[in-house]
Symmetry: C2
Subunit: 264 residues, 2 copies
């Protein structure tokens, strides 16, 4: 167990990753600093992927994109090195998981482009401050995620269904959650749907496609947000020769404050 | 049928009321100008009623309160005279409807205090601009309203259940409606509830307590806003010697623009 009090900032977390001290999940570390998903692709796929994200901003909110070959997300963490500053990575070749290293020294190429993508941790932290309980956090499991019948707008070779995450909320908390998450357009923003899961093509909430099921109580409705798994799942379905992502829960921690991603 | 193009502003509508030319509903007149509910009570009940509204701002959003004996809502329409400038009034004595005059010359007293209370017309106009269809407007009927099991915070002799209005919306439109109506805290603001009507003590949506039933389609959820009928219903239940209200649909049209009641 890490001593989370030692990790006050994004720099603290990244230094511990870089030194090899931190190789585990980042949940709860550097509170207030925005954590993010990572997707790295060769440059020949980068334009299509960027355009796909631009056309689908709710599931694919881009916080930063590097220059080809550069490991520096200069907008959100100019001192970071994406090759070393995450706890753990996943290496995918032709869509198959082949390695989970703690740095990218064996895999880096000069044509790689890194996409840093907003993460729901940012808005969950805002929900927490508003005393809105989030079931999967309470239960210490992963958020339940579902492939939907809603199709993303395609771009280049990239296409696929939108993936959503689900949080059960009372009606009053669902309304407050719409208000709160609307302030965070760069991290999925407002829900895309609430109630009536069958309208999203979800027949059984107890069988998520990713993550863990959580109970929906009688006085709650399911509330659905576009999910950052969408761009990874879509990119992966193309089975590129090389794709690199963060390992689940082992996020990139930026210098940007969660609250600085809020509008209004 | 009035020539609605002739009524461009609140002043136009009020002048036509004052001259006796306009004695019918104000829906659609002076588009963009905030319309409002009216409740007039003797001064000895005014403090309790004002405190009740202050403690229950979502159902009872006060836009203006006159000095005792003054018919001038000086904040929202300084040239208006509340005794003549509405199309039609209702006179209640000890809780019984006794008259529906077009002016108050026969009923005015020097101890009367007028409360001008925000109306959902303001946020419905914003929903309309966002192309969110409102069922009861489409169907040309009154919005369905329901007494709920939710109790208002009492003040003095005033107490009672919160009344809500209901609009069926698709999930996506329900989310957008939360965002849009949140900008209008002075006219009921965000919904107080959505989905799961039984949690409000509403067993049958097809049997509203006021207004007209509207269908809720399979791809819609019921969305509930606190309703301006609440303060009138609460005041009426006290059966005061004299209470004056607007006649349903015959609203006071102010000088304030709907959009000026928006925050953010």
């Amino acid at each position: 167990m890490m001593d989370s009090a030692r990790f006050a900032t994004g720099v603290d977390v990244r230094n511990a990753c870089r030194s090899g001290e931190l190789t585990d999940q980042t949940s709860g570390l550097a509170p207030g600093f925005a954590q993010a998903n990572l997707a790295i692709l060769p440059k020949d796929l980068a334009f299509g992927f960027l355009l796909f994200c631009r056309r689908n901003p709710k599931p694919c909110p881009i916080l930063d994109v590097t220059e080809p070959g550069s490991p520096v997300p200069s907008t959100i963490a100019p001192t970071a090195d994406l090759r070393t500053d995450l706890p753990r990575y996943r290496i995918w070749k032709y869509g198959e998981l082949v390695d989970e290293p703690t740095d990218l020294s064996d895999y880096w190429q000069d044509d790689l482009v890194s996409f840093v993508i907003g993460c729901s941790f940012t808005f969950e932290s805002a929900l927490h401050r508003a005393e809105i309980p989030v079931r999967h956090v309470e239960q210490g499991v992963n958020v339940p995620m579902y492939k939907t019948s809603r199709v993303c707008r395609p771009a280049g070779i990239f296409h696929g269904p939108m993936v959503v995450s689900m949080r059960p909320l009372t009606p009053a908390n669902a309304i407050a959650a719409v208000q709160i998450t609307s302030r965070f357009p760069d991290v999925h923003g407002a829900p895309i749907h609430l109630g009536l899961p069958h309208l999203l093509g979800i027949d059984d909430l107890s069988k998520p496609d990713f993550g863990d099921a959580v109970p929906v109580r009688d006085d709650e409705i399911p509330v659905f947000w576009a999910c950052g798994v969408t761009p990874q799942a879509v990119a992966m379905s193309v089975k590129p020769p090389l794709m690199i992502t963060h390992s689940p829960g082992c996020m990139f921690v930026s210098d940007v404050l969660d609250e600085s991603l809020a509008v209004g």
